[in-house]
Symmetry: C2
Subunit: 283 residues, 2 copies
């Protein structure tokens, strides 16, 4: 029986091992400067912060600790978004891993949690879009320099997340009761075969359903929509089963184009955690 922190760490590892995951690092693919080993080291480093969350630590402090540990490798940002989902889920698992409990965890976040969320950006470069002009003092890329502005405005971490929607589907999970994370867990449980294959299937299904917001922010909404449409076409004809070469080719093409659906990977990691905790999947 694994603890919630151990299951969260395992979810990070199973996520990166799942293959094919078009555009992302997976068991078969590295990017040029971001390799499989960086994700392994990121998962190792995140453990202490996940333990803090499991032991009832504040969400913001646990998140900052997890990110600081995750960032102790040379690949850069590997699992920032995944940890932003996993920390409240692990915190909820202390009591019960359900949508209402994790929503309550998010609602209970404070200004101090928001401040620690900003401090987490000091540890690693995270790709985010420019904020609107009136939000410039709250630009997350300012990291801890933005903390006074956060405190002046009295914003909680949930307030920050709600200001990031739409446009960031990790933040959207905080607002929408982790809807996609729980659905991904159900999909993992319903899928067949080894976990690496199930993870690939759930990744592709989630990629098909909503344009990836990291892709949209980096490459534009048209590219994000194109990627979702092509994933939908592959899902529609059950290509992972009937035409795996087509999915591999799609995976290679996205890597070559530098299109990395990182938000969808974050949802998959959260889904893996929920499914492991509920013993809906097993390793």
């Amino acid at each position: 029986m694994r603890t919630p922190a151990a299951n969260a760490q395992l979810a990070l590892l199973l996520e990166v091992a799942g293959t094919p995951k078009p555009g992302n690092v997976d068991r078969r693919r590295d990017l040029e400067d971001l390799r499989f080993e960086h994700f392994l080291a990121g998962a190792v480093g995140a453990r202490d912060g996940l333990e803090m969350a499991a032991n009832g630590g504040a969400v913001g402090a646990a998140f900052e600790r997890a990110v600081a540990g995750m960032a102790g490798q040379r690949g850069g940002n590997t699992q920032f978004g995944s940890l932003l989902l996993l920390v409240p889920l692990v915190r909820a698992a202390r009591e019960e891993l359900s949508a209402p409990v994790v929503e309550a965890v998010c609602e209970d976040t404070t200004v101090a949690d928001a401040a620690n969320f900003y401090r987490a950006f000091d540890h690693v470069d995270v790709f985010v879009d420019d904020p609107p002009a009136d939000m410039e003092p709250l630009d997350v890329r300012r990291g801890s320099d933005a903390v006074p502005a956060v405190e002046d405005r009295g914003l909680t971490l949930l307030d920050i997340m709600s200001r990031s929607v739409p446009g960031d589907d990790v933040a959207r999970e905080w607002i929408e009761g982790f809807e996609r994370s729980f659905r991904a867990a159900e999909r993992l449980a319903a899928a067949d075969g080894p976990l690496g294959d199930r993870t690939a299937a759930v990744f592709l299904a989630e990629l098909a359903e909503r344009p990836d917001t990291l892709v949209a922010n980096r490459s534009g909404e048209a590219v994000a929509q194109e990627v979702a449409d092509r994933a939908a076409e592959l899902v529609e004809r059950d290509a992972l089963e009937t035409d795996p070469d087509a999915v591999e080719a799609f995976a290679e093409e996205l890597v070559a184009r530098g299109v990395n659906p990182g938000t969808t990977a974050d949802i998959a990691a959260a889904g893996l955690f929920v499914a492991l905790e509920r013993e809906a999947i097993d390793v």
Copy 2:
């Protein structure tokens, strides 16, 4: 800066990710009932026991805890031998990671450590050969049932290890100052390229130098010698660089024959830990 426990966990993950590792699970290969995901879960589960060792816990108790956690997956024995090397190395790293200090850690083991070593066999089936008749009461496969015999004879864990040599090259490390583990670390530091490639190179070099004792115990000494000779031939002509297909073919052939050089993988994991701790390699 990762802690020794985190580096030991990362060493387990980097070891299984290294590819090609002829005959073993690696980033590209699963065995029929033993898959990559089982090694990921084994490394996750081992963390608490590794933390115990890092915090100064007794070697036997930390090892038993690490094995109990490692065994919490359905693949069976994934990293028993690796942990038998890593636990004393992590314990030594509290003071200094050198041959004399880890030898002192091993010399300081007690009868209680030996008893906990036997208890670790209750958690997982480990392949070992039949003992000589006078050693039957000390057969490790008896697990905790052998503890009274261990206590009657007043054997320490180092005594048990010295009785397993020759025949078990994990135990031999305990007797020989972790000679191969430290050498593997030097080889990792001297190698080029991404860590997965370096791990493969060091694995092949170690496989070439001594017949793998797990292979010898399972398939006979002639097979172990044949595998070592063929590895030596590949090393001799620098096949990982000049003829990678030949190494891949050797890897597939050993998997097909059920020949799994697990002892050599344990040495590689120990070498990865030492190299990480000394910052001779970086992720």
